[in-house]
């Protein structure tokens, strides 16, 4: 948690330091089924996308990409709300 606090303290201004969001595909219950991180992130850092989409079929596998992670302030809100613990921060 100390790492997170350090991040919080320098969060003002947003995205000025390189913060890396790690996403664990195995643990995520699916971006469309859950989507907590997508909705909660104040910076809208994440994008979701379908994997193995097939013609004529509904795709059930939606994953995350931290596409706009340069804007991440390290606030930790996404991690707090991800129940399965699929997200982590590296600094």
């Amino acid at each position: 948690m100390s790492g997170l606090n350090r991040l919080k303290s320098r969060a003002v201004g947003g995205g000025s330091e390189m913060v890396e969001i790690r996403f664990d595909k195995e643990k995520c219950i699916g971006a469309l089924r859950c989507g907590e991180c997508l909705r909660r992130c104040p910076q809208a850092v994440f994008r979701s996308y379908p994997e193995n989409r097939r013609r004529g079929e509904i795709c059930d596998e939606w994953y995350l990409a931290p596409t706009y992670q340069v804007l991440c302030t390290g606030c930790g809100i996404c991690i707090e709300h991800c129940k399965p613990g699929a997200l982590s921060l590296i600094c």
């Binding site: 947003g14 971006a31 997508l38 979701s48 994997e51 596409t67 706009y68």
Partner: protein, 284 residues
């Protein structure tokens, strides 16, 4: 006149030129046909990673170059521009057939799956999109011209920005109803300076008519309207204004009007947000 109108307008606004809506443009161009055909199959994942890749080396000198490349990529393939409600209604009369679908941006950015259909698609794109039910989870709803006009007027009152979209420029196959930060284009334009071209107009507030009610301030999706506490009236930062015109719908006093960008010498070549390095304070 913007570059698009000069190249693709035939003397008019480029998005009011009927030539830019005809299916032959897709049939006669293999590259465009492929782009339209693959759009629904690949757009979310391709976009998520193309941009992540461009943004990753953000501390290196290549940031500016990569951002410029990305801007060029959008201009060539998938460029958007805000249009006023008057012009959006004209577009509804030109484009055919028209159908509405759920919003891709709201789904990929905020996991919205409420079934609300914000986006209008036209022409051959509709044929291809039907093959991907996952792209349009609650289906494709065909609209007549009158229904389409009612739809865009309703969205205008809700304060959503109308934007036209190319599928290999200048072929137009969509008009979206956008807001920040749920629209990929608006947020990418404001945060990084690409994907959305500024509009052909700029809003102006007549201070003599404005009574300072402040309704318009939160209406602007681009943060262009400010309130001046000294004179107690609102004003528009014309450098930030994208010319969408949606602020007019809330002004009971009729104080906001649109002026041609071309009539303002300082703004006539202002088409993009500057590309910036987040947090560094460096601007192009």
């Amino acid at each position: 006149m913007c570059k698009f109108c000069a190249e693709h307008g035939a003397g008019k606004r480029w998005y009011l030129n009927t030539k830019n809506y005809v299916d032959e443009m897709v049939k006669n161009d293999k590259e465009r046909e492929e782009f339209v055909r693959n759009f629904a199959a690949t757009v979310e994942k391709d976009g998520a990673y193309r941009i992540l890749e461009a943004l990753t080396p953000f501390k290196s000198e290549s940031w500016m170059d990569r951002s410029r490349e990305l801007r060029e990529w959008y201009i060539y393939w998938h460029q958007g521009q805000p249009v006023t409600i008057e012009e959006t209604k004209e577009i509804m009369k030109i484009a055919s057939p028209i159908a509405k679908v759920e919003c891709l941006c709201r789904r990929v950015l905020r996991a919205e799956t409420g079934g609300e259909k914000y986006c209008l698609l036209f022409g051959m794109l509709l044929d291809y999109i039907r093959d991907w039910p996952d792209f349009t989870p609650t289906g494709v709803e065909p609209l007549t011209v009158d229904e389409a006009i009612d739809e865009v007027v309703r969205r205008d009152r809700e304060g959503l920005v109308h934007t036209v979209w190319t599928f290999k420029t200048p072929y137009i196959a969509a008009v979206c109803q956008c807001a920040t930060p749920v629209c990929l284009a608006l947020r990418q334009a404001l945060d990084f300076g690409y994907m959305l071209h500024k509009g052909e107009y700029v809003g102006v507030i007549d201070t003599a008519k404005c009574d300072g009610c402040g309704e318009c301030v939160s209406r602007c999706q681009f943060g262009a309207i400010k309130f001046d506490p000294v004179i107690g009236k609102a004003y528009i930062d014309m450098w930030k204004c994208y010319g969408c015109g949606v602020c007019r719908a809330v002004c009971d006093r009729g104080a906001i009007s649109m002026r041609e960008r071309q009539s303002i010498p300082e703004l006539k070549d202002e088409w993009f947000e500057p590309i910036k390095v987040p947090g560094s304070g460096r601007w192009e």
